[in-house]
């Protein structure tokens, strides 16, 4: 079956960001001071542990950013040369991996691991008459047949085998790591194991392995259980909540990273120029960011999103598929969040450049007649990059949290985009129900908590490693 690759705007920018990340890694490996700073990040247990979790989320995000449109099978009797038609539904690589979750849609709510729907329904009995029962789920625990009483034993068996699999996988990874460490350190395997166990390695591999064990257990349990049960239940239209949570990861990552990426050029260029050139340039730039700061952030976002929505709604011809339209709104949201958040970084960079301008090496460059552009590029920019780096990681968690709130208020992502905010928004109507439908809320909050917590921890470690005042 053929397919047509689709590159959404956010995909393209996300991959640009990944490429920048890869280039940065290459660059860091060459520069000793940068390598030392990242070494400090790696030597901290919190840094390595949070990096492992963020990496796991990143893998999900990347898999969900490879979009395509599947080829429709040709109608019977169509000529061989007929143009190939593609489905208007845009899928991602993650959708293919999770197709068992995506397609197994129930009728409506069902609790985690349930085998029957959450609400009673009136059904016609075969012999006439009616009865109010909890209807059996179409997919949840379907392999059990009518023997739903064996569910607990079945779940326990799957968890046991899953844990065994996770342990096996973990031991394999640990063994590879020990081999690598032993080769690098040049003394035997047992010495490497001991160093690892005592946490005496240069990078905090012990914390990384421990986190990896947790990640592996969760992943493998999900792989073992999710095809047979709805581990996090189903939502109002019967979609699997685990699927929705995994899809939300990409939205969160895109908002958290692209926002900073799109505002970075403005913040860096304007901040450095304001600080270095001074005079009327400084006045103008300061005026611009004071004006933008003066407008309350939420209201500016609300106004801009409302306006963007009008633009998108009045120009349906720009978008071939619904996914592209939703994507345009996501990108617009990133831009708007960027506009409201670049002022802080700009002010920091301006202050730092003001300091750098008076340093001897910049003075010397100026005395030698080096041009302004060259001084900014060669002497100022590299020396403010640590501030940019810190801002990038510090902003991430706040943006992820902001997305949920904005989507909840109705000024966030498109309602058809799966995100933590839209999940919470859809679940809030059911809070008043008795018994409460708690699982989609808890799933969204739990995923968000893990993502934001690891981002916060990572940001702290990065700031400690890069901020010269803190060492």
């Amino acid at each position: 079956m053929g397919f047509l690759p689709v590159v959404l705007w956010t995909d393209a920018l996300f991959f640009v960001l990944l490429a920048i990340g890869a280039a940065t890694i290459v660059h860091v490996r060459r520069e000793a001071p940068l390598r030392a700073a990242w070494g400090r990040v790696g030597s901290r247990a919190a840094g390595m542990a949070s990096a492992v979790i963020l990496l796991a989320f990143l893998v999900i995000g990347i898999a969900d950013s490879l979009h395509f449109r599947a080829q429709l099978s040709a109608a019977n009797g169509a000529a061989e040369s007929a143009p190939v038609a593609h489905s208007s539904e845009v899928l991602s690589a993650l959708d293919v991996l999770l197709s068992s979750l995506r397609t197994r849609v129930e009728k409506t709510y069902s609790a985690p691991f349930a085998t029957a729907l959450y609400a009673r329904e009136t059904v016609e009995l075969p012999g006439g008459g009616q009865s109010r029962i909890y209807p059996r789920l179409a997919w949840g625990g379907a392999h059990l047949g009518e023997a739903t009483g064996e569910r607990d034993a079945d779940v326990a068996r799957r968890i046991a085998t899953g844990l065994a699999g996770a342990a096996g996988g973990w031991i394999a990874v640990a063994a590879i790591l020990v081999l690598m460490l032993a080769r690098r350190r040049g003394n035997g395997m047992s010495e490497a194991v001991r160093a690892l166990w005592r946490g005496e390695t240069a990078l905090a591999w012990r914390a990384a392995l421990f986190t990896l064990a947790c990640v592996l257990v969760v992943t493998i349990l999900a792989i073992r259980l999710a095809p047979y049960y709805h581990v996090f239940g189903t939502d109002k239209v019967g979609q699997d909540v685990l699927y929705l949570s995994l899809k939300s990861v990409r939205t969160a990552l895109i908002i958290g990273t692209l926002t900073t990426l799109v505002m970075l050029p403005f913040a860096v260029a304007l901040g450095i120029m304001a600080g270095y050139l001074g005079g009327w340039v400084d006045d103008v730039i300061q005026y611009i960011y004071t004006v933008l700061n003066a407008i309350p952030g939420v209201l500016l976002i609300a106004a801009a999103v409302l306006m963007m929505q009008v633009v998108i709604d009045t120009h349906p011809q720009w978008f071939a598929t619904a996914a592209e339209r939703a994507d345009a709104r996501l990108l617009a949201l990133c831009l708007i969040l960027g506009i409201t958040s670049w002022t802080g970084l700009c002010r920091l960079l301006r202050g730092e450049t003001l300091k750098l301008r008076e340093l001897e090496y910049v003075q010397a460059a100026r005395a030698f007649g080096v041009g302004t552009a060259a001084i900014l590029r060669r002497h100022v920019l590299p020396n403010v990059m640590h501030i940019v780096m810190i801002a990038l990681v510090m902003d991430f968690s706040g943006l992820v949290l902001a997305e949920a709130v904005l989507s909840y208020v109705g000024i966030g992502v498109d309602p058809t985009t799966i995100s933590f905010g839209t999940m919470i928004n859809a679940a809030r109507a059911e809070l008043a129900r008795e018994p409460m439908v708690w699982w989609s809320l808890m799933a969204a909050f739990a995923f968000m908590f893990v993502l934001v917590l690891s981002a916060n921890l990572f940001a702290d470690v990065v700031r400690d490693a890069f901020d010269p005042r803190r060492s």
Partner: protein, 325 residues
């Protein structure tokens, strides 16, 4: 001092004009009033007459900047820019889509907003500073370490979770206070306790951590060493010296938000059904009532600028070394 204040106030004028221009561009230039009318009336099956009527009702049928049809000064005043944007400087915001006067509505809703925001602010500041002080008192101990871990964990939780969880636990499970609603007068306290408590808890994580770093910075100063060398107890050093000096960055950091308390909190007010300015804004956003959103943007920026000026003044009050000239 007076001359400085006057200059600051004059400096506020171009900023407000800038805000005005930005909002004007956002609301009228990015989309023409025709687009907005079509969106409000439904994109399909809308007649040109209906659009025209919608525009006349709201006064959007005039030209943007320059009216060639009018005479004399009317060429400037009979425009959308003059009527909708410049009139805001006189706090004349026109009418909302439901026909009510926006300025009157704002005056009515300020009370409930403040009744929620002011206790939240005061109690939040008190709770965060106390928590940070405890952490600093036991610094470099397990208590400090786990306290910081708790702070980071608390700031990683979505504010929506605090609200939903708090409502569920306190109002539904324990049935201590009503889940949402509002009553005028003193009866309001029953409705305000829960939102205030939840907002304080939601904010304590990030604030306490921030204040802790300020305290720690202050504690490494020379005067603290001198105070210790004099033989003062750690408690006296912390409360009488460090707290006083650390309040300078803390106060100047929070003064800027005091005027914005009038705006209320969007999330909390809409969750708890408090008829303040926050829920007014949310309702306007959901109903796409552009006039109200514009008015709130303008008021918000005025209050922000007031906050900046208050910050400058507060510097001179708490730190005698600073003089405004």
């Amino acid at each position: 001092m007076f001359a400085y204040m006057l200059r600051r106030l004059l400096y506020a004028v171009p900023i407000l004009i800038g805000v005005n221009l930005v909002t004007f561009a956002l609301f009228f230039v990015v989309n023409s009033p025709d687009d907005m009318a079509r969106m409000q009336l439904g994109v399909k099956r809308v007649t040109p007459e209906a659009i025209e009527r919608w525009k006349v009702e709201r006064g959007y049928d005039r030209p943007l900047f320059f009216n060639t049809a009018a005479k004399g000064s009317g060429q400037v005043t009979e425009t959308i820019f003059f009527r909708k944007s410049l009139r805001m400087f006189t706090f004349d915001f026109g009418r909302a889509d439901d026909g009510r006067d926006i300025a009157q509505e704002i005056r009515d809703r300020m009370g409930p907003s403040l009744a929620l925001a002011l206790p939240t602010f005061v109690l939040g500041l008190f709770a965060s500073v106390s928590f940070a002080l405890i952490l600093v008192f036991f610094r470099a101990s397990y208590l400090d370490f786990w306290g910081v871990v708790l702070c980071v964990a608390m700031m990683s939780i979505s504010s929506l979770f605090y609200i939903i969880g708090g409502q569920w636990l306190i109002s539904k499970l324990w049935a201590l206070v009503p889940i949402s609603g509002y009553a005028p007068g003193l009866d309001a306290w029953r409705f305000l306790v829960l939102p205030v408590v939840i907002s304080v808890i939601a904010g304590v994580g990030s604030n306490a951590r921030w204040y802790r770093t300020i305290f720690l910075e202050e504690i490494s100063r020379d005067y603290v060493r001198t105070a210790r060398a004099k033989g003062l107890s750690e408690r006296v050093v912390l409360f009488r010296h460090v707290l006083k000096n650390a309040m300078i960055p803390i106060l100047t950091g929070v003064v800027v938000v005091i005027p914005l308390l009038f705006m209320g909190s969007l999330l909390v007010e809409s969750f708890f059904g408090i008829p303040g300015l926050g829920s007014y804004t949310i309702d306007a956003i959901n109903a796409q009532d552009f006039a109200v959103v514009r008015a709130m943007v303008f008021i918000g920026s005025v209050l922000y600028i007031v906050g900046l000026i208050l910050t400058d003044i507060s510097y001179t009050l708490v730190d005698p070394r600073v003089r405004l000239e």
